[in-house]
């Protein structure tokens, strides 16, 4: 508890090198990229990579809440696919009567579904008192099976009439900044405000660092954690809204293994996996690092296609080790 309070008091004034770790790592990866391949630093490539990392970054902001409150959510990838499927079916259903407005209504409905999915996870964990790992492993299977069932194992495409009006949400830009990046920034700013500047954010950390002490201090740990899962669900739905226009379909492989990327991004970013410490901006750096590494693997010819995953694993471990030693 004491460490939490001092950190909040000191954070804005002093530069803490340990907290800069993820950003230094990101700068290093980008520098290496620029050196080994001339195509890396081009505007298009950077825009592609940053836009692509938006989904993982948005979901990972939610995961930062869940993890720093002392829980874990393995269901985000499947939930993402499920919410995407529900949204597309809703939009297709409404399109004949509402035209392009179906997108807005569908997106709103998606947010509700996402929040409810998160609430379900949260209640199983807090009211059901089941380990988050097992509870969300269960819902992960449920959401994945539901999307497979809804699509008959194939794909659920969005109506052609909706493709064009919806397309800019992924491919469009505001003042040259791709729209998904703008959305990510908005989510991050709101997330950082809630986590660092509100009572809820402090309770989240308290619940994560020591649940018993938090309970004795009058914090309803169950309420805090359930809310974190709902925030996670909302983030998944926001990611889904940006995701649909990219390929215009949901399939049983949508969002597969994203939960692992999300957790990796959060941890690289400096959030403690056991809870009690959350770093929203670090999380975003983590998501960017993962995407940049994947991009570099394709751009450079140094690594055999069979070994790409191994090199990615080594880089992630090195980044974590560097983090530890800077401390």
């Amino acid at each position: 508890m004491t460490s939490v309070t001092t950190e909040i008091a000191d954070a804005p004034r002093r530069i803490r090198w340990a907290d800069m770790g993820p950003f230094i790592a990101l700068a290093l990866v980008v520098l290496i990229g620029t050196l080994i391949n001339t195509n890396f630093a081009t505007g298009t490539n950077i825009a592609n990579v940053v836009t692509r990392s938006a989904f993982i970054a948005i979901i990972a902001v939610g995961a930062t809440f869940v993890i720093s409150s002392g829980c874990l959510d393995l269901s985000v990838g499947s939930m993402m696919a499920f919410v995407t499927g529900v949204m597309i079916l809703t939009m297709n259903r409404l399109e004949p009567t509402m035209g392009s407005n179906a997108i807005l209504v569908g997106a709103g409905f998606g947010l509700i579904v996402g929040a409810l999915c998160g609430l379900l996870n949260g209640l199983i964990v807090t009211v059901g008192k089941i380990e988050p790992f097992i509870a969300t492993l269960g819902t992960m299977g449920i959401f994945r099976a539901l999307i497979t069932w809804m699509s008959d194992g194939g794909s659920i495409p969005i109506e052609r009439a909706l493709r064009d009006p919806y397309r800019p949400v992924y491919f469009g830009n505001v003042l040259g900044i791709p729209l998904p990046v703008v959305v990510t920034l908005a989510v991050v700013v709101v997330g950082a405000f809630i986590l660092y500047r509100t009572k809820y954010g402090r309770r989240c950390m308290a619940a994560g660092s020591n649940a018993d002490v938090a309970r004795f201090s009058g914090v309803s740990v169950a309420k805090v954690r359930t809310t974190a899962f709902v925030i996670q669900g909302l983030c998944v739905a926001i990611a889904a809204i940006c995701y649909i226009p990219r390929l215009g379909a949901a399939t049983p492989t949508t969002g597969q293994l994203w939960e692992l990327q999300v957790i990796t991004a959060v941890v690289i970013g400096g959030t403690l996996l056991r809870g009690g410490k959350g770093r929203i901006w670090g999380t975003v750096a983590g998501a960017l690092i993962l995407e940049v590494i994947a991009n570099l693997m394709v751009l450079s010819n140094m690594v055999s296609e069979y070994l790409v995953a191994a090199v990615q694993g080594v880089i992630i471990i090195l980044a974590m080790l560097a983090h530890r030693f800077i401390k």
Partner: protein
């Protein structure tokens, strides 16, 4: 939502079908064909399940003395258990199986065979080919080779291309081998081959990276139509116009629609049709319905799907 409604209707009709067949089971000379296939986890297996269910309906309607039981399994171990369950409760006259893996399923299928069951194997062969009475499979090498021949001819034997491959498996290796063997004899340079795991999203990202890395690409081959859709979206976004052809494979209905519409970038596809399960079920049924003995190996060719023959390969109701 309409899908859900259709599904529910399907369940009701399946239940009534079961009631019917249960009544008919009293009749003499009832023959049972068990069909064991992977569960629908992605487009292609979704197609397999669809065609197996279609075959079940059609055959049971045409030949009342034949009962077809379709069982789907999500993993190799689950498939082994399914075989045990199927053969424990009843005597099977025939088993049509698309094995998850060759090694793990060979023993259990041999067990079923020892009761005198006729064995038809589809797609992936067993390690001991003497077990099977009938073998129906597609030709993955031809999928790669036929696409390569067409592409090489259209490019005039020279140019620069990029390739996206699937999940590291025999299927993927054979397609890539068939493709690269043909390309070796041309002046076409394969700039890059990377895995995109038969996944639309990964194919989209990989294609974006290819476009960033290579200033000039004449053609793209994604060895599966699912990936092709991701590739096309990335090309569209980049605004690059030098890419003359982007081809896939498998015969997904969305891509067949493009072929039918004479799409300039994707004018052909190559089938590796999930409907092969249906062909195998029909061949198996033939010997119980009209005494038409069937034994041997049937390798389905991978002819090019062109606007002229596209209708044959187009299943608008199938999920794939």
């Amino acid at each position: 939502m309409t899908r859900t409604a259709r599904r529910a209707l399907g369940l009701v009709s399946a239940a009534s079908l079961m009631a019917l067949t249960a009544g008919g089971a009293m009749a003499q000379d009832k023959r049972t064909i068990a069909v064991s296939i992977p569960a629908a986890t992605h487009g292609w297996t979704g197609g397999v399940v669809y065609h197996a269910e279609q075959a079940e309906k059609e055959i049971e309607a045409a030949f009342p003395n034949i009962d077809v039981i379709v069982k789907t399994s999500p993993s190799a171990t689950a498939q082994v258990s399914a075989l045990e369950d199927l053969s424990a409760g009843q005597t099977l006259d025939a088993l049509v199986i698309l094995p998850f893996t060759s090694e793990e399923l060979t023993g259990p299928v041999e067990q079923v065979k020892s009761n005198g069951t006729y064995i038809a194997v589809v797609d992936r062969g067993l390690t001991d080919p003497t077990i099977q009475d009938l073998y129906v499979a597609g030709d993955n090498i031809a999928v790669g080779a036929n696409t390569a021949k067409w592409m090489a001819e259209k490019l005039g034997g020279e140019g620069k291309i990029v390739v996206l491959r699937g999940i590291p498996t025999v299927i993927d290796d054979e397609r890539i081998q068939g493709f690269t063997d043909v390309m070796k004899d041309t002046n076409i340079e394969i700039l890059d081959i990377q895995y995109a795991n038969w996944n639309q999203d990964e194919a989209f990202s990989l294609m974006q990276d290819y476009l960033a890395k290579y200033p000039h690409i004449d053609a793209v081959w994604a060895n599966d139509d699912d990936m092709l859709l991701g590739v096309l979206e990335a090309v569209k976004q980049s605004g690059r116009t030098e890419i003359k052809y982007a081809l896939g494979g498998n015969g997904m209905k969305d891509v067949i629609e493009m072929v039918k519409a004479n799409d300039p970038v994707t004018p052909i596809s190559t089938p590796y049709p999930p409907s092969m399960i249906k062909s195998a079920i029909y061949m198996t049924a033939a010997q119980f319905a009209g005494q038409a003995p069937m034994r041997g190996n049937f390798k389905l060719d991978a002819p090019l799907i062109t606007p002229e023959n596209a209708d044959q390969f187009y299943f608008p109701d199938s999920p794939f």
